[in-house]
């Protein structure tokens, strides 16, 4: 199994405050890798560091063997990495169609028509709403749009930052099923950052646990689900 994305000894600072204290993570090709942790652990910082804002002050990030640590964000994002950012960040005043066009902007809408069909089959709800403004969609639909928009660039690696944020459990389940299907059917590699540890670990082939900017545990999803530390910190009390 080849490693698609590798993060080695990455340290990220916000001014003089250290947010990531030397993180090592591997995302394997065709697998779902998840990163769980509490609020403020540095999960989203790691996600953003992979994308180049903020930059890693130390360490090395490689994608498909290429060093991307110092590349500008827009160049990183055009290397068939796509991100669905935290809080969805769809374009509220643009229509769903235009949002999807923006997703396909890096390959100049070359495969736009067929990709549009593909994501509309994946999220039938979006097909009904193509002409509607992004800001008028419900939270779940906005999340679907954010994922669909990321898929429009034909990525090999999909970075998902908290897709379950603020969504009803039923919608969360739907979205995770779609992520699993994308991985199984198209062999898409996924790096998933989640608070919802149970769902994320159940889905993932491999999981990492981050505490205060350090990876404290790693292993297969099933393994981590059984670990007492994980159960105590992230699962007990939150009945699923």
């Amino acid at each position: 199994m080849t490693t698609l994305l590798s993060v080695r000894g990455v340290k990220t600072y916000y001014g003089s405050i250290i947010a990531l204290k030397g993180v090592d993570i591997d995302v394997e090709e065709g697998k779902i890798t998840t990163l769980i942790g509490a609020n403020g652990a540095g999960k989203s910082t790691l996600m953003m560091t992979i994308c180049g804002t903020p930059r890693a002050r130390e360490g090395k990030i490689t994608f498909d063997g290429k060093d991307i640590t110092a590349l500008p964000t827009h160049e990183i994002m055009s290397l068939s990495i796509a991100q669905s950012p935290e809080g969805r960040r769809i374009f509220p005043r643009m229509t769903v169609y235009e949002n999807l066009q923006m997703g396909a902007a890096i390959n100049q809408l070359a495969y736009f028509k067929e990709d549009l069909e593909r994501v509309c089959d994946l999220f039938p709800r979006l097909r009904e709403r193509l002409q509607q403004r992004g800001g008028t969609l419900s939270g779940g639909e906005q999340q679907m749009l954010a994922i669909a928009r990321a898929l429009m660039s034909r990525p090999r690696l999909l970075l998902l930052d908290e897709p379950s944020l603020g969504l009803a459990p039923l919608i969360v389940k739907q979205i995770f099923e779609i992520i699993a299907a994308l991985n199984k059917r198209d062999g898409l590699s996924v790096f998933l950052v989640e608070q919802n540890a149970y769902h994320a670990l159940k889905l993932a082939h491999r999981g990492y646990v981050m505490v205060n900017g350090v990876i404290t545990l790693s292993g297969s999803g099933a393994e981590l689900l059984e670990r007492p530390e994980v159960r105590a910190a992230y699962l007990e009390g939150g009945r699923h």
Binding site: C51, T53, P72, T73, H74, E75, I76, M77, S78, A82, Q83, P85, R89, I90, F91, P92, R93, M94, T95, Y97, E98, Q101, M102, G103, A105, I106, Q108, L109, L130, Q131, Q132, R133, G134, G135, T136, R149, A150, S153
Partner: protein, 473 residues
């Protein structure tokens, strides 16, 4: 679609409006107005020849003001009561489909109106000279429409708040003025003189675009208020350089006798090789005014079409996405640096064209024409029209530029305010009140619905922009 509730279905709602209460409240407001203005406006102090101060009553003025307050208050009462009722019956507000249809037809309609305008004015007046004022007003309006559309690219589409737009207008104007006055003096280049305007027009646009990029670079990381302050400073810097670099710009005295544009090489003069003689018509100075009018119509049309096209291209979509959410843009692999710079430079280019036209039309320019007030007015046009709306810019220009101009000639105001009332003195006051009213009535600008760049055959769902929040990034 909202289901209209009949008044009978809702017993809590009173049928009809309560005129009595509205009138009582209006009378109360009138009494208060009388108490406030009674001494302030009711009497005027005048000095007599013997240096005594006497009080001259101004009963009519006082009565007029109180009447305005009473009637105004009454109408406001009625309006708010009516509004409260309609809000109850129509909880979901959708944009009037008629307005959307109008906006789709507006471009061609305005173009036809603009093209026919001088002809209508001249036929109505019966001769050329007396139509000069209205055609000049048309030129002024179209110049501001063009400037509004140019700034609309930067502020309306890309969401970069630019308070120094007049700088690019100045760059365009001075480029033409300096090139045209110096180049024709060079030996061997005299034959260029009639073509000067047409040569300098693209040069002005390009130089202004270059300055747009020069401004763009240092402010790439700024957003919102900070960007506004730096662009404001940039506008002032350009103006101060124009004032103080006397050797080149002739300082505050400005540049005069700038060559006028020609009819593609034929000057508008009474000479034998002039426009009138060539076409065998009698010479009239109005020919040039009408020609200038059509030049600005063409320039504005080009601005309109280019902007409309760009909106549908990836770059235009990237501008709008940038306005909505910069971080999302970057996460989609959009080069935000280039996107911002193109917005700045294309907006500046239109400003440069307009500036070149302005210099050629006036024949004289000085830094006085490029003060901050101009930037503020152009920005007000864009904001009041509704960010990003091309039609909104036209309407806002009519209101903000045409309105005060019309007020100059309103004689009826004198009947209320006395014979020495000079409406021109109050133009800015009325303008200010008008802007406040528009912002109360339409907080997102006159046309706040963003027209999608792609329609998929079926009718777009027209949900008013009021319901969709602005991006934050």
């Amino acid at each position: 679609m909202a289901t209209m509730q009949s008044p009978a279905a809702d017993p809590a709602m009173k049928p009809g409006l309560d005129y009595g209460a509205a009138f009582k409240d209006a009378c109360l407001a009138g009494i208060i107005a009388f108490l406030i203005f009674g001494l302030l406006l009711g009497y005027e102090t005048q000095q007599t020849l013997t240096n005594q101060i006497i009080l001259v009553p101004r009963t009519m003025l006082l009565a007029g003001v109180v009447a305005i307050v009473v009637i105004g208050r009454f109408l406001i009462n009625l309006w708010s009561a009516h509004r409260a009722q309609t809000l109850k019956t129509a909880p979901t507000k959708t944009t009037n489909p008629l307005l959307l249809k109008l906006e789709a037809q507006a471009g061609p309609a305005f173009l036809i109106a603009a093209v026919l305008f001088p002809a209508i004015v001249i036929i109505a007046n019966g001769e050329l000279q007396s139509s000069r004022y209205l055609v000049d007003l048309g030129i002024l309006l179209l110049t501001y429409v063009m400037l509004g559309w140019g700034l609309n690219v930067v502020v309306g589409l890309a969401g970069l708040l630019d308070l120094g737009y007049v700088a690019f207008y100045a760059v365009g104007a001075y480029t033409y003025a300096l090139l045209a006055t110096t180049l024709v003096k060079l030996p061997g280049l005299e034959w260029l003189a009639p073509w000067m305007f047409w040569i300098c027009l693209p040069v002005s646009g390009l130089l202004a675009a270059l300055w747009g990029v020069i401004l763009g670079f240092p402010v790439l990381r700024l957003r919102g208020d900070y960007l506004a302050i730096v662009t404001l400073a940039f506008g002032e810097i350009i103006r101060l350089v124009l004032i103080n670099w006397v050797d080149v710009t002739n300082g505050g005295a400005g540049i005069s006798s700038i060559p006028r544009p020609t009819f593609f090489g034929l000057p508008f003069s009474a000479a034998d090789n002039g426009f009138a003689a060539t076409f065998g018509i009698t010479f009239d100075p109005m020919h040039r005014i009408i020609f200038l009018y059509y030049v600005i119509v063409a320039l504005a049309a080009v601005t309109f079409i280019v902007t409309l096209r760009l909106r549908r291209l990836p770059i235009g979509r990237a501008w709008e996405a940038l306005r909505e959410d910069e971080i999302a843009c970057r996460s989609l692999g959009i080069n935000t640096t280039n996107t911002k710079l193109t917005a700045f430079s294309i907006g500046a280019m239109f400003g440069g064209f307009a500036g070149c036209f302005f210099a050629a039309r006036q024949g004289f320019i000085s830094p006085e024409s490029f003060v901050f007030m101009e930037s503020a007015i152009i920005l007000a046009i864009v904001v009041l029209g509704g960010l990003g709306s091309m039609l909104g810019v036209i309407i806002a220009t009519m209101v903000l530029i045409g309105g005060p101009e019309m007020l100059r000639n309103v004689e009826s105001l004198r009947l209320v305010f006395g014979s020495d009332f000079d409406p021109t003195k109050y133009r800015m006051l009325i303008l200010g009140i008008g802007m406040v009213l528009i912002m109360i009535w339409k907080p997102r600008g006159l046309i706040s619905t963003r027209e999608p760049t792609v329609t998929l055959g079926k009718k777009a769902q027209a949900i008013s922009g009021d319901f969709v929040k602005e991006g934050h990034g």
